[in-house]
């Protein structure tokens, strides 16, 4: 079997797959075949296929759990024209809860509620767990042993990411920062300097300017 044939097989498989496939899964296409195919060869073929998508309406994308063909984003407004149903919308409460799990995992529900200042409805967790975007990754060893939540590969897949690293950075909210520093100035006039500074230091490592 020549390289061209292998490429066609991988292409047809990825095109018709209803889920992402990784290199290990693609390797299984060629087990027990006379001509052995290596991981590196699979990778090279996938890369060739990716390059061949250039200038087409679709692309071969690498996301967290593997590779998949998908339409290009700029095509979506057009593709949508033939679709009667709309993609689901998610509420702000849902997205804020999700963002907290994404950026502060592992995190308990109480911790989420603490940051948001409001109770998180059970239905939000139900949907997050049902969609397998979020999973319970352990329990915090405090009274009640609350579940700690973390994100899944499926979530990354859904948001077209291959790793959590690709998420936008948590931004420093400038205005409030300014408020804080100005507050220190004002406060410094009122109370002794050093206590103010201690209490106002932003948490280490999160500062970015």
């Amino acid at each position: 079997m020549d390289n061209e044939q292998q490429k066609k097989i991988i292409e047809a498989t990825l095109m018709s797959a209803s889920q992402t496939l990784n290199v290990d899964q693609l390797l299984k296409l060629f087990v027990n075949e006379v001509s052995e195919v290596t991981r590196d060869e699979i990778k090279a073929i996938v890369q060739t296929l990716q390059e061949e998508c250039s200038g087409r309406g679709y692309e071969l994308k690498k996301v967290a759990s593997g590779f998949r063909y998908q339409t290009r984003e700029e095509m979506q407004p057009w593709v949508d024209k033939l679709r009667p149903e709309r993609a689901p919308r998610y509420s702000r409460a849902f997205m804020e809860t999700l963002a907290l799990v994404v950026y502060k995992q592992p995190i308990t529900r109480a911790e989420i509620e603490d940051v948001r200042g409001v109770a998180v409805s059970s239905s939000i967790f139900k949907v997050l767990l049902e969609r397998e975007w979020v999973k319970i990754i352990g329990h915090r060893e405090v009274p009640g042993r609350p579940a700690m939540y973390g994100t899944t590969r499926k979530l990354l897949d859904y948001f077209n990411l291959s790793s959590l690293n690709e998420l936008p950075d948590l931004v420093e909210i400038k205005d409030i920062d300014d408020i804080a520093s100005e507050l220190i100035l004002v406060a410094n006039e009122e109370i002794p300097e050093q206590q103010q500074l201690e209490s106002m230091d932003p948490p280490a490592g999160e500062t970015q300017h």
């Binding site: 998908q70 804020e96 963002a99 948001r116 200042g117 948001f159 936008p168 507050l183």
Partner: protein
């Protein structure tokens, strides 16, 4: 979020972005809810959904004040906040509870700012700083939620491709049967048969059964088979005996017939079909 939420939310956001559409004199005490915040009571419930909680509301109010938290920070915010939740209280008690906690906190801060600070309290953190840190953290994740929401998303921003697979009929999809399954099936059916009646299931060696099938198979091809040809010497004594018993069994169950035209003439074996036919023809 439901459809009717969209408008108030958009308005709220709009208002937050605008440079104070209604003039509020710097430092002026506010005794009524701000104009752009006033909602007819029957619309309040809808408006409430525009905020994700007390921190969200507080953030909004601070932004509306153009971040002027320095000169009259807590006092003014507290005023607005309490005005706001007093409206809310009548409508949505369960939601109002969370907002009330925040109001209490604001009131505490306000009172502390007013009171002379005792020396021994100097260890304590400025309650304003604590509140600001909370607000800061909340706003940070509020922004993160927007960022995540803006990420290209399956279904909304692109489609996963899964083209049609042509179906080919493959014979390999036939069920696999293991010998184990076969044996268990027999065991099960015999056990049931035992329980039903005294159905006699005698021990019969498979070799005889198999030979019976072989003999019958040959007879279905050739109508007449020479008796001797059913034995093969290579099988040895045991094999010959098996064949012989098989033939006797077939005879006994009237499946085959043995014919010999003359003494010492070759003996033939044939299916018992004709026997039944003849019997019918001859009236017995």
């Amino acid at each position: 979020m439901t459809e009717n939420v969209v408008n108030p939310e958009a308005e709220a956001t709009q208002a937050a972005q605008d440079e104070m559409p209604f003039a509020i004199v710097h430092g002026e005490r506010i005794s009524v809810p701000p104009q752009d915040l006033y909602i007819p009571p029957d619309a309040l419930e809808v408006f409430l959904d525009a905020f994700e909680g007390p921190l969200d509301l507080l953030l909004y109010l601070i932004k509306r004040q153009n971040l002027d938290i320095l000169t009259l920070p807590v006092l003014k915010i507290t005023q607005q906040y309490t005005d706001y939740i007093s409206l809310m209280e009548n409508m949505r008690l369960e939601l109002a509870a969370e907002y009330l906690v925040m109001a209490a906190m604001l009131a505490e801060i306000k009172s502390r700012m007013l009171l002379p600070r005792p020396v021994e309290d100097s260890d304590e953190e400025d309650p304003r700083a604590q509140l600001i840190r909370r607000l800061q953290e909340y706003e940070r994740y509020k922004k993160a939620a927007e960022d995540v929401d803006n990420l290209p998303r399956s279904e909304r921003d692109f489609e996963e491709i899964s083209i049609h697979e042509v179906e080919i009929v493959s014979e390999e999809k036939l069920p696999v049967v293991e010998m184990k399954d076969l044996a268990f099936a027999l065991q099960e059916v015999l056990r049931r048969a035992d329980m039903q009646i005294a159905h006699s299931v005698k021990r019969e060696t498979l070799s005889i059964r198999e030979r019976m099938t072989e003999v019958l198979s040959r007879l279905s091809v050739d109508e007449f088979v020479e008796f001797v040809s059913l034995f093969s010497v290579e099988e040895g004594r045991a094999g010959v005996i098996v064949s012989f018993i098989a033939i006797l069994e077939l005879l006994k169950s009237q499946v085959i017939e043995i014919v010999q035209s003359d003494i010492y003439a070759p003996i033939y074996v044939k299916p018992a079909i004709s026997q039944l036919d003849e019997g019918a023809e001859h009236g017995q």
